[in-house]
Amino acid sequence: MLLRYVGRRLLLMVPVALGVTLLVFFSIHMVPGSPAYTFLGPHATRTAVAAFNKEWGLNRPVPVQYWLFLVRLFHGNLGDSLFYQSSVSSLIASRIPVTLTLLVGGAVLSIIIAVPLAAVAAVHSGKLIDQVIRFTSTAGLGMPSFWIGTTLIILLGLVFPLFPVGGYGTGLWGHADSMFLPCLTIAISIAPTLLRSLRTSLIDALGSDYVAFARAKGLSARSVLYKYGFRNAAISAVSVLGINIGFLVGGTVIIENVFALPGLGQLMLTSILDRDFPIVQGITLIFSVIVILVYLFTDVAYALLDPRVRL
């Protein structure tokens, strides 16, 4: 059943992703500004601009260009960048690991931060410790991620030089070392929402009849919290996390800028500003696939956690 569901969702991904490329293709071509002028610089002559547009097929009607894009796509080819003399797929491939590490690392760290705090707050609901946690998380919610990032750099990169000040590092250890602060930045911006939703549902679960029954059966407090409290509270928290990661995919642009990470977000931003159409189309396609996959995982996790949900 589950496999069939996943298969159907994966198939549905094709029209959704294509729809996204269609929207992006036409909107980026509708935005005024031509790549010829950015490429040629301020001394661009009419002849040079015309030659550039002809060379890249930019003088053809937009629907024709979209059709050619689709034909190439079905051959597994995302085209060539108008600026870098290389293929879009190779540019994207070199940057995917950075962005994925950022997303996965951020999600894992946010769970590590949110879960214990939510548990403490829920168990001591209404007491001082709960108030402190709730207040801190509200404050965290209000901080923009570029501010969190810069503050972390100053604190943990400069004042206490524990981590590198931006960059991606070299080698596996270098990457891990450099990615910690950016992941932490993401975690700090997602954790409050996660924490608050987990706390509320945990309080609900802990006050429910089945928990009262479990307690009455004589199960230990720890066992009640883990087996009955968390498992039920996790259901809503998983969807909160999933939706937040979906939003974050777009938000990586800012984090990658602050930490000078060579990820997809940064490439996307420069390519939009330069009007490097093939890269923008390629990255949008990848981003939409990532978002769709995250939502799919969320739904599957939801089903696995809650036997009442049938896929």
Partner: protein, 527 residues
């Protein structure tokens, strides 16, 4: 050269910058250095050089962005290069030249014994191949610089003969253009893809690795022709788009040079221990352009009135935080035709009102000013212009568009007023004169930097200056042009902007030329 990309999304608030800088200052952690000057040159070490963007291409004939141009100049060398003050050419791959009496045939004698980074000897065939590549395609950005070259021959192994279509006095300066840098004939037999992944040049450095969009790692060229140089083992250009992150990396010692710190950071960096903050003269000149397709700007009195009404010192203070100079002409002080004595048109509200009264529109009018959205400098300048033109009855609306659209609208002359700027790529006044003052469909077809200004006298003088040779005579013609442009301005000349670099005190010999070259062969690191 084109404007560095404005990172739109890095909306770091002023409060944050303040907090960052005060916190960083409070910690007192300078980059690893004592600030003492070391007398003896030390060898070795690699400099991490933070810049706002990565390079686009290693092929110098295919780039117009500064990041690419300045990095490519570490790898490839043309026949001539600029002196440190940017005023004249000095020999690089050539040692001398002779010109025929009709001024059409230039014979360049090449430096002998120069080797490429692969050990192969540089000869005339390589030079011919390299220069011919620049204008090989109409879509190449630098075709216009080499436009007067008729053909190139190689009578001997170390002689290159360039024949021009007309007696062309800027040719020696044209030969110093980075795009004319020398690479091996036929790409040393490699395919373009293989060659440009690890290009071969005669410059002090060669490519170790380019991670596109992130960093360009250069290592020293073991065959470099200047004995004992370069001193460094390498230079690593890293793309760090965020102003604050570049500054923090410099302070933490993980980078040694920060290219273009935000103007708001410059004063504070000057007093920071362990860091040298230098403002090198550049050729960047900032203008406010008037499109003469708009009827109001056909009237010279309107253009003069606006030009008089703008308080340039206020703009320098607001935009560059005082780190620039008020412009007195269209000519940049970086070039030899600059006349420091020229008063130019300066802020004078009484003169502005007088000119406005003399115009066909004494009651004023409404006009649109193009500004780049997210381009904080242009937005600030726009607001200042807006308020300063009000006393003349000119109501200015800011027309905000994003960067790429702004360039397109400017280049298509689809604006009413627009902020324009010039930087020169060659060390001869000709490039900027034909670009920004020549009207009609002049050499570059830009109609006086898209303003549609067309003064036959200016056009005539520019062409004349291209075809006479003694510099003193050319200087006279350019001064004459300058006087005409003062009285009949296609744009209001606003300010001259330096190149700002912050670097660690243990970096020595770092000097940026007005054309932007870094000359890393002279740079060394003290331990």
């Amino acid at each position: 050269m084109k404007l560095n990309r404005v990172t739109l999304l890095v909306a770091t608030s002023a409060a944050l910058v303040l907090a960052t800088t005060t916190m960083a200052a409070a910690t007192g952690r300078g980059a690893a250095s004592s600030g003492k000057k070391v007398a003896h040159i030390q060898r070795g070490g690699t400099i991490v050089f933070d810049r706002g963007a990565d390079i686009i291409s290693l092929d110098p004939t295919q780039v117009s962005d500064n990041e690419s141009i300045w990095a490519d100049e570490c790898i490839f060398e043309p026949l001539y290069e600029a002196t440190p003050n940017g005023k004249s050419p000095i020999p690089d791959m050539a040692t001398s030249y002779t010109v025929s009496t009709n001024h059409l045939v230039w014979t360049f004698n090449l430096r002998q014994g120069v080797k490429f980074s692969n050990g192969q000897e540089m000869t005339s065939a390589d030079v011919k191949f390299s220069i011919n590549r620049v204008a090989a395609k109409a879509s190449n950005p630098w075709t216009f610089i080499n436009a007067d070259i008729k053909n190139i021959t190689t009578p001997t192994k170390f002689q290159v003969v360039v024949t021009t279509k007309t007696p062309w006095s800027p040719l020696q300066a044209d030969m110093a253009l980075f795009a004319n840098g020398v690479i091996p004939n036929n790409l040393a037999g490699e395919t373009p893809a293989v060659f440009w992944a690890h290009p071969i040049g005669t410059g002090p450095f060669m490519v170790k690795q380019w991670i596109k969009g992130n960093s360009l790692d250069l290592v020293k060229n073991p065959h470099y022709w200047q004995p004992g140089k370069p001193y460094l083992d390498g230079v690593n250009f890293v793309s760090v788009p965020d102003d604050n992150t570049r500054l923090l990396q410099l302070e933490s010692g993980s980078a040694q040079i920060d290219e273009f710190p935000a103007w708001s950071q410059v004063s504070e960096l000057k007093s920071k221990p362990g860091i040298t903050m230098s403002l090198f003269p550049s050729s960047w000149t900032q203008f406010l352009g008037f499109n003469e397709q708009i009827k109001y700007f056909k009237d010279v009195h309107v253009r003069l009135a606006i030009s008089y009404a703008i308080d340039r010192a206020a703009i320098v203070k607001a935009v560059l935080f005082g780190h620039g100079t008020v412009a007195n002409s269209q000519v940049t002080p970086a070039l030899w035709d600059y006349n420091p004595k020229s008063p130019g048109v300066q802020y004078n509200l009484a003169s502005a009102k007088k000119q406005m009264a003399m115009s066909k529109y004494p009651k004023g009018f409404s006009v649109k000013l193009l500004v780049g959205s997210g381009n904080q400098n242009e937005l600030t300048m726009g607001q200042i212009v807006q308020s300063e033109l009000l006393p003349l009855g000119i109501k200015v609306t800011l027309q905000e568009v994003n960067g790429a659209q702004e360039t397109t609208l400017q280049d298509d002359s689809e604006f009413q007023m627009s902020f324009l700027y010039d930087t020169t790529d060659i060390i001869d006044p000709d490039e900027l004169m034909t670009f920004a003052a020549a009207g009609g469909s002049g050499a570059q077809g830009t109609h006086a930097e898209f303003t549609n200004y067309d003064n036959p006298e200016v056009n005539k003088l520019i062409t004349e200056a291209e075809h006479i040779f003694p510099q003193a005579q050319r200087q006279k013609l350019y001064n004459q042009i300058q006087l005409i442009l003062d009285q009949d301005p296609p744009m209001a000349y606003l300010f001259y902007q330096p190149f700002a670099y912050a670097y660690s005190d243990n970096v020595h010999g770092f000097d940026v030329y007005p054309t932007g070259n870094y000359h890393f062969e002279n740079v060394w690191l003290s331990k």
